[in-house]
């Protein structure tokens, strides 16, 4: 994993790291662990912007492992409103918990916070930056439904500029030699930093402004929401968003095996009629958040168990009378 077992960006997850987490998630689904596996362990949930799915799936994951969650509550009732820095907040909550989950509106927040704590810190979304645990559950869903991860052809459509799930997914897919097709309006194409990394990594990448240019080739179509607030003008938003909406008719031009994914919440970029087709996998994708986050926490908490055991051994040796 990352330095000091923080999970900050998908860029720092190796292919082996990813496979370890996904294998553990599959094992957990086949054979759920004892409910006291991590009894007494506490996960600190530091959410500085609203989140339902991510926060609840982390809470479910730690509880299913026998631990519990400490939630700092809505940001408008937290110490942040009194002017406390993020660096101070995480240092305080580190004293209460065995691992921290951070969601923050500023890019780079997780990287910075990780410099102030020693317990594992998991980035649950930092502005338009990264969302690596979402990527792990995305990959798990692909692996379970698209015949593995190697050499997939994946289309990623929507807001590629501000979509943190897209940035993390692109890095991870590169490690599996996926062919990646990015479909978006010109104004919402991938940011310069992600393009730079994909180029450096030798990723197979093509960009399109029309889904029909590539739809028939795809094993996976990953749709993201185009956010209204990114557009100064409502009409401009409607014109763009309408171009990147899929319905059951759109998918008639896709391969039968093509799976449709979405990090949710959706607004109107996937018509409800798609839900009833064999293509739809976005609710399953959301459900996979729990076993994947259980796997991740299990691995990280196991690691810290190991450190504590080693520390105890060292203490014993230092104070021993032999």
């Amino acid at each position: 994993m990352d330095d000091r077992d923080h999970v900050i960006t998908a860029k720092n997850l190796s292919r082996a790291d990813i496979e370890t987490v996904l294998d553990r998630a599959a094992a957990i689904e086949r054979d759920p662990p004892d409910r006291d596996r991590h009894a007494g362990r506490l996960l600190g949930l530091c959410f500085f912007e609203p989140s339902t799915r991510t926060r609840m799936s982390f809470e479910a994951a730690i509880k299913r492992l026998g631990g519990d969650a400490l939630d700092m509550g809505p940001v408008d009732s937290s110490s942040a409103t009194k002017g406390e820095s993020l660096a101070d907040t995480v240092r305080v909550i580190e004293g209460y918990a065995d691992a921290l989950v951070l969601r923050h509106p500023s890019e780079g927040a997780a990287t910075m916070a990780s410099e102030f704590v020693d317990v594992p810190l998991l980035n649950a979304g930092d502005g338009a930056g990264q969302h690596p645990t979402q990527t792990l559950l995305d990959l798990y869903t692909m692996r379970e439904n698209a015949g593995g991860l190697a050499d997939l052809t994946v289309g990623i459509m929507g807001d590629l500029k501000y979509g943190r799930t897209v940035h993390s997914l692109a890095y991870a897919l590169t490690k599996f030699d996926a062919s990646q097709h990015f479909v978006s309006p010109e104004s919402l194409r991938l940011p310069r930093s992600v393009r730079y990394d994909l180029h450096e990594a030798g990723a197979q990448v093509r960009e399109h402004d029309d889904l029909d240019e590539v739809l028939s080739e795809l094993d996976v179509l990953y749709v993201t929401r185009i956010q209204r607030e990114r557009f100064p003008d409502e009409n401009e938003y409607r014109a763009v968003a309408g171009e990147y909406r899929i319905d059951a008719e759109t998918l008639e031009r896709a391969r039968d095996e093509c799976i449709v994914m979405h990090p949710l919440p959706r607004v109107d970029e996937i018509a409800p009629a798609v839900d009833a087709t064999e293509h739809a996998h976005y609710f399953e994708q959301a459900h996979n958040g729990v076993p994947v986050r259980m796997a991740l926490l299990d691995l990280l908490l196991d690691d810290t168990d190991g450190e504590e055991a080693a520390d105890a051994t060292d203490d014993s040796a230092n104070g021993g009378s032999r």
């Binding site: 780079g108 990287t111 930093s193």
Partner: protein, 155 residues
């Protein structure tokens, strides 16, 4: 006339201070900006621009009297003038001479231009940029800066 003689005529020797030589032609104002020299300070500064140079074709030269540059300042100069050499002058002689080297990382000398970056949020953190072949990259939000670096200097 040799290049050396040519310099002597254009810009006189200084007693103590720093001579920044082999700045690419036209970039002396950027170096002055990095050093915070904008005409409002008392420092005595001589600038030669577009001086003929065997190595660069045309180069700029900056001489600053009574001031030796810090490593942070040299690091930032290296980003916009990678061929520059720094001569420390003491008693009219070159006491030290070295080429600038592009560091792997610059800390605390540039501000991130991304208003959504955590480093712009009042946190107790020093800005840090990875130096790329053709720009710099914020170690926190990963924003890449290639143009107008001098506008983001916070030394």
């Amino acid at each position: 006339m040799s290049e050396r003689d040519d310099h002597e005529l254009r810009i006189s020797k200084i007693q103590d201070g720093t001579v920044i030589d082999h700045i690419a032609g036209g970039h002396a104002p950027d170096v002055l900006a990095i050093l915070g020299i904008d005409g409002s300070t008392d420092e005595v500064v001589s600038v030669g621009m577009n001086v003929p140079s065997d190595r660069l074709g045309h180069k700029d030269v900056v001489k600053i009297e009574g001031r030796e540059l810090s490593q942070d300042e040299v690091d930032v100069i290296s980003l916009i003038a990678p061929a520059a050499s720094i001569n420390i002058i003491r008693e009219y002689g070159v006491a030290e001479k070295h080429r600038v080297e592009r560091p792997a990382v610059v800390e605390g000398v540039l501000s991130c231009p991304n208003h959504d970056c955590i480093t712009t949020d009042g946190e107790p953190v020093t800005s840090r940029f990875e130096v790329l072949d053709d720009g710099v990259r914020c170690a926190y939000c990963e924003t890449i800066l290639r143009e107008n670096l001098t506008e983001h200097i916070s030394v």
